[in-house]
Subunit: 160 residues, 3 copies
């Protein structure tokens, strides 16, 4: 159980199972592709210092939290995605390759550092799976996200 | 023709065929995956009370229409996607699983109820196909969408 | 080498190899599907007249550049995607079908002409591969993009 040992070495534990907030599921597998729903970092908000929001009720990176804090939100969003992968696959070593990540950042008005934020997620994936954890990726800026969260990430994973 | 009977029971009819507004097609199939372009609810705008827009020419959920109206836009966007699936597959019972939905909502400044809006689409898919209609999903907030529409949805479907 | 001849006829040359700006790769292939990361038009910014930005440091289509200029950004973003396909596949004729494009436009406040902008990319794909270059597509409006660019595009390609 190489990948779970890696998580342990990083001082990270798989969190509680993710619950969809709507009529959808957290993952669907078709053949050797696992499609993961958009995840946030909700179970870890306290550890992340809470959801600091501005007058619009939104937690914007570059306004309400720093890029470094945004990076941590993305890292724990990644951990949350890994929790769902564990549920889907039983064993994290069945992840053959993280194929594609769509990293969605809610940033301040003129924000442009989306890649630095979403690195929080893909750095974790690379720490856990090495080169196989490094996906094709887009990191882009949304106007707002559900319940004012600053980062939401979805992923496609190739499984064995 | 179970799925089409379900639509009938719901009082819904497949609409006119969707026409791309640009140089693209409404769907591409590769192997057993059907990729659907982003759809809006255009053929049903009149039934939905028209496209109420604000001073920026955009119909924003939570500002120009309510979440309940946004839900209906998403429902009819779902019906529009089903119309394209019908054209692509000939028979809606060939849908084995709705795999992934990306629900894009144009909301008011501090909007956070994207999941409640996009449920309009996935509730319909579940009504038509049962559990097989419940996809992995992201529901997120765009700054603006083509021609000021409030909801655009794309989908990936597994077919038999 | 039909596709590369087409590029030549169009007066276009494959550019320098794309370098990821973060912890990700430009493409991942799984089976016959090639997933391409979000690309911008960076190597061609000078040819495109530079990145004109507003007070928020962002280059917005419909505010800082025209729709026609946005179209050119999308065209060169497409060329940039083709450069990555060439690296991934060795030979552009191995592209069997451009399956899916997600075209992300950073537009002015009330912008609604995303399809006209993203046509810059898909027009190029159709010029190079004919009907096989015409994908399913979404063309939507982001709040901001990395480093203030006006257009970012990701794609899924079927390969032989």
């Amino acid at each position: 159980l190489y990948a779970e040992k890696k998580l342990e070495e990083l001082g990270l534990k798989l969190g509680p199972l993710n619950e969809p907030i709507g009529n959808y599921v957290e993952y669907v597998q078709v053949g050797n592709l696992l499609f993961l729903a958009g995840h946030g970092a909700r179970p870890y908000h306290d550890e992340l210092g809470g959801l600091t929001t501005g007058p619009d009720g939104i937690c914007r990176v570059g306004r309400d939290i720093t890029v470094e804090q945004g990076y941590k939100f993305a890292r724990y969003t990644g951990l949350n995605l890994i929790t769902t992968m564990r549920k889907a696959l039983g064993d994290l070593d069945r992840v053959k390759r993280v194929v594609k990540v769509l990293g969605m950042v809610c940033g301040a008005e003129g924000f442009g550092q989306h890649p630095k934020v979403i690195d929080g997620c893909t750095d974790l994936f690379v720490q856990v799976w090495g080169d196989a954890g490094r996906p094709a990726r887009s990191a882009v800026g949304m106007y707002n996200l559900p319940n004012g969260i600053p980062v939401e990430i979805e992923a496609i994973v190739e499984v064995e």
